[in-house]
Symmetry: C2
């Protein structure tokens, strides 16, 4: 750190010939202090380049002005947008964001949570790594820090008394709408491509897909469920598994946009033309979905707005910790673009 002593309240008080308490009142805009005194003090702070030490104030007041945000995968634009939304809303409310990224590793996530807890945040927003255990999270953050979990449910049960809010997307309705639309276009053999069946969001999205099939009188075929890690790279690599089916599907409902974009590239690599002779839908509506080639038909989840919403929910809970754990499921809607045409005659 820098050697020079920092300017403190004391310096200002001494220079102005008033007490620390008076300067403190000026700082927080109290009406108690005489306008003339206020002007004097403010000028002196300006002159000396005083900068408030919020950590010291928070210590005394026993409050926190920080919220921890732990993200599983910042390189996925869906989560990057979410993070931007969280930070925006927290900043507007005077909170600062403590960032942590787990890179989808539950071990790293535990470590990151532990380190963030030492800063006694007012709350935690967690977009969990795949297959994070509720009991691990409970252990890391204890039962007194408000927690909001985003997007994926924690697996397993924590001890009773560990409560948290949940903000998720209506996964089932989303894939159901996408699948129904494909059926309406004339598709009959529709795969569900990508994601890990273990994750709550993947499970829910598969259910919506199967519901739409059954509703149309189509028997879901087990082999139409193809697992891949939820990344572009993995989705690209497994495209051949989809085309190897006999008879091959004519359409794929994908776990998310990253998977859909990867699959489309894989299809091109294998000589197919997604958007012309094969239909693909995504989930999330990340910014590049609209400007892909072809533009992606997908389920829109507005990640930046979700981030703002997550921040609101968390701060509400921090303000009244007595409310029991809530679960907010956000409606989503299908955005049609060009990647999902009718089946090639």
């Amino acid at each position: 750190m820098d050697k020079r002593r920092r300017i403190t309240l004391n310096d200002i008080a001494r220079a102005c010939g008033v007490s620390r308490a008076t300067v403190s009142l000026v700082l927080r805009g109290s009406p108690l202090v005489h306008p003339e005194t206020r002007r004097l003090v403010e000028a002196e702070m300006q002159r000396q380049g005083y900068v408030y030490n919020r950590a010291a104030a928070n210590l005394r007041q026993r409050v926190s002005s920080a919220v921890a945000l732990v993200i599983n995968d910042l390189s996925n634009p869906f989560f990057a947008e979410f993070a931007a939304g969280v930070d925006e809303a927290l900043g507007a409310k005077g909170y600062v964001t403590l960032l942590g990224s787990s890179n989808e590793s539950p071990a790293r996530q535990r470590q990151v949570l532990g380190s963030l807890m030492e800063h006694h945040p007012a709350g935690i927003i967690l977009s969990p790594a795949e297959s994070s255990m509720a009991s691990d999270v409970a252990l890391a953050i204890g039962r007194h820090t408000p927690l909001l979990v985003f997007n994926r449910q924690l697996t397993g049960d924590a001890e009773p008394g560990f409560e948290y809010d949940f903000l998720g997307l209506d996964n089932r309705a989303g894939t159901r709408a996408a699948t129904a639309r494909l059926i309406a276009l004339g598709h009959r053999r529709i795969a569900f491509y990508g994601g890990h069946a273990g994750s709550s969001s993947c499970r829910e999205r598969r259910i919506g897909y199967q519901e739409a099939l059954r509703e149309a009188g189509i028997a879901p075929d087990e082999r139409w469920l193809i697992e891949t890690a939820p990344t572009r790279l993995e989705a690209n690599a497994h495209a051949d598994a989809l085309l190897a089916l006999e008879p091959a599907p004519t359409a794929a409902v994908c776990y998310n946009d990253a998977v859909a974009l990867g699959l489309m590239l894989g299809l091109v690599r294998l000589g197919r033309r997604p958007g012309e002779d094969f239909a693909v839908t995504g989930f999330d509506d990340i910014p590049e979905a609209a400007v892909g080639i072809p533009p992606l038909t997908t389920v829109s989840a507005a990640p930046r707005q979700r981030g703002r919403q997550a921040a609101e929910l968390l701060l509400q809970r921090a303000a009244s910790p007595s409310i029991p754990g809530r679960s907010v499921i956000v409606p989503v809607h299908l955005t049609e673009r060009d990647s999902a045409p009718a089946p090639a005659s």
Copy 2:
């Protein structure tokens, strides 16, 4: 906040019948304390669920364990990856990341910096909003907090005494290599597409491009310089300006990958086939460059590694503030994929 009193060092000390000082020594693994006492204290901390209050410790020690990271555009994967790299490296060194995002607004940036300064970070990593003034930044953070600026130079001069480190890419060499490659493939009419001429990175990239043209005996045409905001959306919208030129260029060196991906979509919209009858190159090598359609020939900058590097540089300076402002320019290299073929005969 929660009503219940937090467990403190005092509680542990009292429960164990030792002094606070002893518990403090246990906490920091001092060899001075008797092994038996240590075991006792540790067991008690476990039992009561004690969590260290790093803010209080930092206050007493007059140090900071936080570094502020201010990002201009988290929805650009280049910067999201950079942020992930910074957080990773800082976490490994025991620092926590204070996140702020400016959304490319200098006003918002000033506000965010001011709020982060109140947390007295050990240093600041700033990826500046477009056309941020050095004097504004100097005003917001003062002259005693180590600063590392990433990617873009600050415009204008600050008062003397305001020093900072700079980490940037070798922009000139990057676009020069891309342009030279296009020329080698047989292109003669090559545009420079996208970016704002006011930004230092755009200026440098244009220079590299013009150098390569001149070296090949091609006179750069003013009209080949087309400005757009550095986003997918804007790049897409202005594609017609490129094709309207007479005679039309056969290739475009783009300001960055976001612009290149947007331009390619715009070209498709206008009936062209990038990668077949038009050559496009990017800059950054964001993850989706490799899996675009066609895969993008681009200049690789390895943003996540740059993030780790930025964290290292900043912590070095924080450790020895006496070193004068350094400027580290990272070499980049051309990654050839399919988006830049030879000109259509």
